[in-house]
Amino acid sequence: MPEGGAPPSDQMAIVLTESAADKLLPFATLVSGAVAMGMRVDVFASYWGLEAFRAKAAAAPAFVSPGHGEAGARLESSLRDKKAPNWRTILEMAKSLGELHIFACSQSMEIMGLTKADLDPIVEGVTGVATFVDRTRSANVTYFI
């Protein structure tokens, strides 16, 4: 039974299209907050969002989105110096506490030449967009990151 007292119908849907640390950390933080509140979370990883779930990507050093100049460089070193939690570790913890389902976008898989074996095992499966939309048609909170 979900903690947080939320009815089982409470659901968050997230489409993730980014792979930089300044997107992945807020994403993982949002997911864990929602799971703590007893929500079921469904994630559709697409394009760079899917790149973040390539098996080897999680171990790579954090980088931030381009276009922020010196502020971006400062954030990168701040994330390292302050030993920011790894976004992947946050997701793992969220999954162990509640209901988190991560799916890979089949179109991105094809364009990027990936198979399920190339992906982090936290990804449950490869689905088309219609399947994801159907799973999340009753979601009461949706985000596009």
Binding site: E3, G4, M37, G38, A84, P85, L97
Partner: protein
């Protein structure tokens, strides 16, 4: 992050220390959710958090999850939350 039993008190309520100081939002709340899932009803927890977000997140979560917030105390550089798992 660490959890340790702080020993039994006279009425034999189990009390557990959850030291989440230095853990970023929502780390302390996630630690609390985890130990509440794992430990038996009646267990008391002392959650230590230096995350400012916990001040609203923890009481709000406890109210929704219907567990008891016994005490909140500001310490030097962190807050101490005493919590009881009620169901």
């Amino acid at each position: 992050m660490s959890a340790a039993e702080t020993g039994s008190n006279p009425n034999e309520t189990k009390r557990m220390l959850v030291d989440a100081r230095g853990s970023w939002c929502p780390g302390p709340l996630m630690e609390l959710v985890r130990v509440i899932q794992e430990e038996p009803v009646g267990t008391e927890f002392e959650l230590l958090s230096s995350d400012e977000g916990s001040r609203k997140d923890v009481p709000m979560w406890l109210e929704k999850a219907k567990h008891q917030l016994i005490e909140v105390r500001a310490e030097s550089g962190y807050d101490r939350y005493v919590i009881r798992k009620t169901h």
